[in-house]
């Protein structure tokens, strides 16, 4: 049997363009890339079916028929790709709504960036001090007594809880924010 060269070339081009687009950070391009790659894969399955003959429905001699199984695969794959693309579109739209002043790019994980820019892990310092104090449980309860505050940044108290929550996954303790602590305090007050 012969493999139609045109289809192979189309598949290759689709794969190449699809992969190129998927390497982009823009979400819309990612979606387009996914669609191209998905169709290239469908074409790959079709090429892999090996025989090109009469339609497998409607009788006739079995020898001249196409292999129906890959076509069933392709149908299933098309349906799945369709559903996933619809979901992706909704996701992209939502992402774009949430970040209107930016474009529709993949956002970085703040906690990762935070960790990458941290000079040393602050928790280790915490651990040592606290382990020494830990067994006492003396000032454990949540009474409202005015606390002697070791916190050098009183500005942070004023931040509404919701605002603090947003940064919760990514506590700001990187070197940059520390070095500019004094300047910040002036600005926020």
């Amino acid at each position: 049997m012969t493999m139609p060269l045109v289809l192979v070339a189309v598949m290759v081009v689709l794969y190449a363009c699809g992969v190129y687009l998927m390497l982009d950070r823009t979400l819309t391009r990612l979606l387009l890339g996914f669609l191209l790659v998905g169709n290239a894969t469908n074409l790959l399955i079709f090429l892999m079916s090996g025989s090109f003959g009469a339609a497998p429905i409607g009788g006739g001699p079995a020898e001249g028929m196409s292999d129906p199984l890959p076509q069933a695969f392709i149908l299933t794959a098309i349906v799945i790709t369709f559903g996933v693309s619809a979901f992706l579109l909704a996701l992209i739209y939502r992402s774009w709504r949430l970040a209107q002043d930016m474009d529709d790019r993949v956002q970085d994980d703040e906690a990762d960036l935070e960790l990458a820019t941290t000079e040393a892990l602050t928790t280790d310092e915490v651990t040592d001090e606290d382990l020494a104090e830990a067994p006492e449980f003396s000032d454990d309860d949540d009474d409202e007594s005015p606390q002697q505050d070791p916190d050098p940044h009183p500005a942070a108290h004023d931040a509404p809880p919701a605002a603090r929550d947003a940064a919760d996954a990514a506590p700001h303790h990187d070197t940059k924010s520390r070095s500019s602590a004094a300047a910040r305090e002036g600005e926020t007050q």
Partner: protein, 553 residues
């Protein structure tokens, strides 16, 4: 005769999902349907496990089409065990989520879709476990992935959308790769039935085998979060609601591991990538746990331990003998339960302490001693402290490795022991900081850590203003205020802890079962015969006469 039960494990949750979707707004009714369905599946899979262990592998030919042509559903000992464990997890997490009131609209979840999606996720997982051909496995993967896309972006808050984008795109890449590999395998062999592939792939040239094997390994490796392909996981899992994270952590990566086991034992027993698997296992173990040690957030920390412990399973697969598979199977069962329990306990911590960041937690031992215990037991279990199932699983793996006595095996024993220690260190640090540290200190620390910059303040204000405009974004900020913890959440977590202890108490029979399963895996001939009929070699099947390799026309 009993094969009738096999497709029911998929059909029951799918049908219930449809019913639950048909009654939006009736939360109690939806919960009832879900509870009934998950209980029924648990009973079904328990029955299947008993049947399979007593009478051997069950094969169901869907629609009565003979095996190589039609779709075969196969339940052997491994899939039966996976079915039981995953239905236990789904049920436990479901009870937890009822307790949390996830679906009652007071949080960031749309009312009507949570339970149906959850059921569809279950159906996808079960379908992947009973799939007897590669394409059906792919469909199972897609079902569970699509519902996981929905679950991970529940509520559509900024954080979850960001995490969801990463997760969806990485999963898509792996799915496309899997599908393309199925196409290539079909082109090379003219079949996708796994039993028939056992025979036919063996006839291929070894380079082709290796190529197909590696392509499948990459596709499954992304899903299982094996080291170089694991970076998506800690980015995406922690932002989802606690029960969703728990069920994802327990089940989804294990489906990937299960697929790796199947492909290594059934499809490519001759094409040896064992050394590669061992190296990858070692790297996964080390890199994962180092990530965990450096994390401040408990959910992220647990996500990294999850990656790290996938390494143990790959280690077991890499040893490629019956005892190794047995240890892996036991380890998977143990890890599904324990990892889920830990995430549920973290859900309780989040409720009690208002955050999952270790910087902001403290003094919980006095405030909530029950949570301390509920976190402590699975923590010791995951770290591999002797009486628990984690120890038994690791001991099993190390024993087999010592019997193999190759340099890689000895290396991995060392790495495995080290990682076990580091797991305990990372989790114990989290436990001490969250439960033992005096509350006030923690608050002071948190403030000094969290003093925000002006830019972030401005950004946040802008985001809040934006979110107010987006009326359809309920609860845009993550759930942070402290709330009453319903009894049901405690009960569900305690139940899961009890199950993990049961894994220890019944370790003898369970490990024996896993050993029998491992023998089945190491010698797939019996199953091949069952699926294909009496004469596996001579059955032409599929479209053998239309193989592209043959120059017939």
């Amino acid at each position: 005769m009993m094969t009738v039960l096999v497709p029911l494990v998929v059909l029951v949750p799918l049908a219930s999902a449809a019913f639950a979707l048909a009654v939006p707004g009736h939360r109690k009714l939806q919960q009832g349907i879900t509870l009934f369905s998950l209980t029924a599946v648990l009973a079904l899979s328990g029955t299947l496990m008993w049947l399979v262990d007593a009478h051997g592998t069950l094969v169901m030919e869907v629609g009565g089409w003979a095996a190589p042509f039609g779709i075969a559903l196969v339940v052997d000992r491994v899939s039966a065990l996976m079915l039981v464990v995953s239905s236990v997890v789904l049920l436990g997490v479901f009870v937890f989520s009822i307790g949390q009131g996830l679906a009652d609209g007071d949080e960031d979840t749309p009312v009507s879709i949570y339970y149906p999606t959850y059921l569809v996720l279950g159906a996808g997982v079960f379908n992947a476990f009973i799939a007897g051909d590669l394409f059906n496995l792919y469909v199972g993967f897609e079902i569970l992935l699509v519902s996981s896309y929905v679950l991970i972006t529940l509520g559509g808050t900024a954080q979850r959308i960001r995490a969801g984008v990463t997760y969806v795109i990485v999963s898509l890449v792996s799915s496309v790769l899997f599908l393309a590999t199925i196409g290539l395998i079909y082109g090379a062999t003219g079949s996708v039935n796994m039993a028939q592939l056992t025979v036919r792939i063996a006839e291929l040239p070894s380079e082709v085998q290796l190529l197909l094997n590696l392509a499948l390994l990459i596709a499954f490796g992304i899903k299982a979060a094996v080291f170089p392909l694991s970076f998506w996981l800690p980015d995406s899992y922690p932002t989802a609601p606690a029960p969703v994270t728990a069920v994802f952590a327990g089940l989804l990566t294990k489906v990937g591991v299960y697929a790796i086991i199947r492909s290594q034992t059934l499809l490519f027993p001759q094409s040896s990538v064992d050394t590669l698997l061992m190296v990858v296992a070692g790297l996964t173990l080390i890199v994962g746990i180092l990530g965990a040690v450096s994390q401040l957030d408990i959910k992220r920390l647990l996500s990294f331990t999850l990656i790290s412990h996938i390494g143990y399973m790959i280690f077991g697969i890499g040893m490629a003998n019956a005892a190794g598979f047995a240890a892996t199977i036991y380890y998977i069962a143990h890890h599904i339960i324990v990892q889920t329990t830990l995430f549920l306990a973290v859900g309780l911590i989040e409720r009690q302490g208002g955050t999952t960041s270790l910087a902001g937690l403290g003094g919980l031992l006095r405030a909530a001693p029950v949570i301390a215990v509920l976190f402590f037991i699975p923590m010791l279990n995951l770290g591999g402290i002797p009486p628990f199932s984690g120890f038994i699983g690791k001991l099993g793996l190390f024993t087999v490795a010592a019997e193999i006595a190759t340099p890689e095996a000895y290396w991995l024993i060392g790495i495995g022991a080290l990682v076990s220690l580091l797991t305990l260190y990372a989790l114990a640090r989290a436990w001490v900081l969250a439960f033992w540290r005096p509350k006030k200190r923690a608050e002071a620390e948190a403030r000094s850590l969290k003093s925000p910059t002006t830019e972030t303040l401005i950004l946040r204000e802008r985001e809040e203003a934006l979110l107010e405009r987006l009326q359809d974004a309920p609860g845009a900020t993550p759930n942070q205020e402290k709330k009453e913890i319903p009894r049901l959440m405690f009960a569900a977590t305690a139940g899961m802890v009890a199950v993990s202890i049961a894994l220890t108490i019944f370790a003898g029979p369970l490990y024996a079962y896993a050993a029998r399963a491992g023998q089945d895996m190491a010698a797939p001939g019996e199953m091949v015969q069952l699926v294909l009929g009496d004469t596996p070699g001579s059955l032409g099947g599929g479209s053998g006469d239309t193989r592209p390799g043959e120059d017939t026309r």
